[in-house]
């Protein structure tokens, strides 16, 4: 589906770093809006099926009616580094960083990319929890760096938390607003802090939900049903945890714990056990629930 007959939105081009849950979701959102995307990952296994995973998500978005109907998909190419893909590193509308929630991995990839792209190209981090100003230490031009925390799945959730780091330049904030407008997303701009707003509230809440299950107070299903039925949570915290990916959730909780000292952010033993067992949630077929199909 992608890569054919494309009429990219006014020549816009995105580079997405990381072909995981969020990288492919953000790529699907962009492709579905007619934007050309290059998706980069160091893991060749991830690259091998990245196109299929993006295509499937574009179809899901169409199925849910969240893409403009009259726009042809933008072309997608994949590669192990920005220097290997035909769309290259010049003329990019923006770079979206969606690699593993590990401050060292992010520092490395941000240093590399900021040395490659034209100055003034917005570098947009999709980090869940790492303060933007901390990431800014790794880039050549901190004014080009901004946080844009897409929710999962990016093509179904319209609101995006945008994080203005203390050194984020006004041109970068304007550029990310324009990009989100093209993508049909609605930004809410917040200040920089560990976990910003959404992860600072949601991630310890999910951790507490897991603790309740571990304590034997209620089953996984009961916790989700109560949070849905009594508190209006759309899916329940444990289904949300499976959607996020338990490994990513643990990484984010450690980031929060190390930077806030808040004990409610220390990942609980049941979460750690599941990650050690490879039960990562929806993406591995099993977490708190069982899944078939690889969405």
């Amino acid at each position: 589906m992608t890569g054919q007959n494309a009429t990219p939105d006014a020549g816009q081009r995105l580079a997405v770093l990381g072909a995981g849950v969020m990288g492919t979701g953000i790529a699907a959102l962009a492709v579905g809006h007619g934007i050309a995307v290059s998706i980069i990952d160091v893991d060749r296994g991830r690259l091998a099926d990245a196109t299929a995973r993006v295509d499937r998500q574009v179809r899901t978005a169409r199925l849910m009616g969240t893409l403009p109907p009259d726009v042809r998909p933008g072309p997608l190419d994949v590669g192990p580094s920005l220097t290997d893909v035909p769309t290259g590193r010049t003329g990019l509308t923006a770079v979206v960083e969606a690699v593993t929630e590990d401050p060292y991995a992010k520092a490395k990839v941000l240093t590399e990319v900021s040395a490659l792209v034209t100055p003034g190209t917005p570098v947009v981090s999709n980090t869940s929890s790492i303060p933007i100003d901390e990431l800014a230490r790794s880039v050549a031009r901190p004014e080009d760096l901004v946080g844009s925390h897409f929710m999962n799945p990016p093509y179904l959730i319209r609101t995006v938390e945008v994080i203005r780091g203390p050194r984020t330049g006004p041109h970068t904030l304007d550029a990310v607003r324009r990009l989100l407008a093209v993508l049909g997303r609605e930004p809410v701009v917040v200040e920089d802090a560990p976990g910003f707003v959404t992860s600072r509230i949601l991630h310890p809440m999910i951790n507490n939900a897991v603790r309740v299950v571990a304590a034997g107070t209620a089953s996984v299903e009961s916790v989700d049903t109560l949070l849905q039925g009594c508190l209006g949570h759309p899916t329940g915290p444990l289904r949300t945890a499976d959607l996020i990916g338990l490994d990513n959730l643990v990484d984010s909780l450690w980031v929060l714990h190390e930077r806030t000292g808040d004990e409610s952010c220390r990942p609980c033993e049941l979460l750690l056990t599941k990650v050690r067992a490879g039960h990562l949630g929806r993406k591995s077929g099993r977490g708190f629930y069982h899944y078939e199909g690889d969405l």
């Binding site: 179809r59 899901t60 169409r62 199925l63 009616g65 109907p69 899916t235 289904r239 078939e292 199909g293």
Partner: protein
């Protein structure tokens, strides 16, 4: 279970009944709940909208059809009966509301 598209079924009624029964079985196996053919799968308390894509893939793989264009919309997958109608239309090659 794959039903090849060239497998002869005596008439449209039988074919529809077969697909209906198979889909009800599939949904029950995957969700642990019974789904009468006219129940809205995605109404409050129903299935996650992400499950809808699994239904698309299931129909495509099982019945050898390809769901494209404006056929790819949630309303076509909302009930077992609607999915059966879609499969029937795509298998018999009737011109539907295929869009670009």
């Amino acid at each position: 279970m794959t039903v090849p598209s060239d497998q002869e079924v005596s008439d449209t009624g039988d074919r529809v009944d077969t697909v209906t029964a198979e889909l009800v079985r599939f949904l029950t196996a995957r969700t642990g709940r019974a789904w009468p053919p006219d129940t809205d799968l995605f109404a409050t308390g129903g299935l996650s909208s992400l499950f809808a894509m699994e239904l698309v893939v299931h129909l495509e793989q099982t019945y050898g059809v390809s769901v494209r264009g404006t056929d790819l919309r949630l309303d076509n997958f909302r009930t077992v009966r609607r999915m059966v109608a879609l499969v029937d239309r795509l298998r018999t090659g009737e011109p539907g509301d295929h869009g670009a």
